[in-house]
């Protein structure tokens, strides 16, 4: 994505420990009926960084992403994005990629991206066309604009879904398992994009259950039973095991077994 229409990049976001978190939750609890999903959870993501939420299926990753997207309301606690509670006033500054690719199958790639660009209120016709071109180039689908979604492979559909999440150049991206089902090459491509975006100031909250994704994140949180059992940089988390050659997977398993927190 070019910096020309990147709200996060040109906005002059300074890096530093004292700045306001772009994504933040405090004492956050949420339950589906009687089943508690998140318990007293806290998270703080600095602007221009990638925060990876890692956890097993059912650990609460998707619920947390949906709370930040404003699709769910917390039972208690506080959720903030760019200092505000998620809601209509904030929605054009958030890019959301749901876990399941929510697209219109009978429409073409370009029609899908164009539709959501219109919903996000992306500029006039020319500005919108430029934003769509830019988003499609970024996900390497510039030459597939006229193809219907139903004719694409799973990985391509996922890339369209990502293009929609970032067509309005939001300063905050909420990505729910964006790399599931991608081959290693595509996965690397996605992480290349994410790296460039954070360098331009975009903040990314990403959920995943693969340790391969985890290594790319600036900070990680291991989510288990509705709260983070550990949080830190990949190196910090590896170090918790005490073994020099420990992988993130080792660290995760170690922390789960010991119930320790860093």
């Amino acid at each position: 994505m070019g910096t020309d229409h990147h709200k996060g990049g040109v906005g002059g976001i300074m890096r530093g420990p004292e700045q306001r978190p772009a994504v933040e939750a405090r004492r956050l609890s949420f339950a589906f009926g009687k089943r508690a999903v998140l318990r007293d959870l806290a998270i703080s993501v600095q602007p221009g960084t990638v925060f990876g939420m890692l956890g097993a299926n059912g650990s609460g990753k998707t619920t947390l992403v949906r709370l930040f997207a404003g699709l769910l309301k917390p039972d208690s606690g506080d959720v903030r994005i760019l200092g505000n509670a998620p809601g209509p006033g904030l929605s054009d500054r958030i890019g959301y990629m749901p876990q399941f690719n929510a697209l219109y199958g009978s429409l073409t790639v370009r029609e899908n991206v164009d539709f959501f660009a219109r919903m996000y209120g992306v500029g006039d016709r020319l500005a919108r066309a430029a934003a769509i071109d830019s988003a499609l180039e970024l996900v390497d689908l510039a030459d597939r604009g006229r193809d219907r979604i139903t004719s694409l492979s799973g990985g391509m559909v996922q890339r369209v879904s990502l293009a929609i999440a970032l067509v309005h150049a939001p300063p905050v991206l909420l990505l729910d398992e964006p790399t599931v089902g991608l081959d290693p090459e595509l996965r690397a491509t996605f992480w290349g994009h994410f790296g460039r975006m954070t360098a331009e100031g975009t903040t990314i909250l990403i959920s995943s259950h693969t340790m391969d994704d985890a290594a790319h994140c600036d900070r990680l949180g291991f989510l288990r039973d509705g709260r983070f059992i550990a949080e830190g940089t990949p190196d910090e988390l590896r170090a918790t095991t005490g073994a020099a050659s420990a992988s993130l997977e080792d660290a995760f398993l170690y922390l789960v077994r010991t119930g320790a927190s860093s």
Binding site: A69, G70, L71, P88, S91, D92, I94, Y96, P98, F100, N101, A102, L103, Y104, G105, S106, L107, E111, F115, F116, R118, M119, Y120, G121, R148, I164
Partner: protein, 243 residues
């Protein structure tokens, strides 16, 4: 901006329907087959057919419109795109009006087809102006579209939307003067029948088709129907956020 979004949603809804060739064919063929069946089954009882035609036209207009809209709107939710829309700045009103407009074109064409086929091919005897009959059906169609959207905000899947047919449509068929005039219903059903929207559509269409009355004569019936249509959309706006 809001107007742009509404138009974009309506355009997208229409584009999706047009792209789905098989559904498109069914939208227009199914009502014709049903009305042809009605015509054949009454072929030796022209008087009865003439008498029940306004009610049958109304019922099938409502039924087809409801099913078309209810299921399509539900698909927006089940495929996750409705949730995705909620994360954009689009308002509930934009979504609902956009859907209404998008479906209305097809539902109105469907209603027109039902009317024209019944009047000219099934060859029902009538007195009033066909254009005025169509106006009644348009109001009924808007009501049906909104009823479909409203019902689908309560349903989690297609199966549940279909369950709404016996719940929302069947009582209207029995009590709205379709099987027998409202006046001939048991006294305890008279007042409930007056509450049902379809009663007013059937009465308006019957007055025009059988008695040769004009829209001016049935304006109160149309008013009730229109009030229901607007009311339903307003209520749907409060229930549509259910994901």
């Amino acid at each position: 901006m809001t107007f742009d979004r509404t138009v974009s949603i309506a355009t997208r809804v229409m584009r999706e329907i047009v792209r789905d060739r098989r559904s498109l064919a069914l939208i227009f063929l199914a009502p014709l087959l049903v009305m042809a069946l009605v015509g054949f089954s009454f072929s030796e009882k022209q008087d009865t057919l003439d008498r029940v035609a306004p009610a049958l036209i109304s019922v099938f207009t409502l039924l087809f419109t409801f099913v078309l809209t209810g299921i399509s709107f539900l698909r927006e939710r089940s495929q996750g795109t409705l949730e995705r829309l909620y994360v954009t700045p689009v308002g509930r009103g934009d979504v609902l009006i956009g859907y209404l407009l998008g479906f209305l074109i097809f539902a109105a064409l469907q209603s027109l087809l039902i009317l024209l086929f019944t009047v000219f091919v099934v060859d029902v005897n009538y007195q009033g102006d066909v254009r005025q009959m169509f106006v009644v059906l348009i109001v009924l169609t808007v009501f049906g579209v909104n009823l479909g959207i409203f019902a689908s905000t309560f349903a989690r899947n297609e199966f549940q939307v279909v369950q709404f047919i016996p719940l929302l449509i069947a009582p209207q068929i029995f009590l709205s003067g379709v099987l027998m005039p409202v006046e001939e219903l048991p006294s305890y059903f008279q007042n409930p029948a007056e509450i049902l929207p379809l009663t007013h559509a059937v009465r308006a269409l019957r007055d025009i088709m059988l008695r040769g009355e004009s829209l001016g004569d049935v304006v109160s019936e149309l008013g009730v129907l229109a009030a229901y249509a607007v009311g339903l959309l307003a209520v749907a706006a409060t229930t549509v956020r259910r994901t």
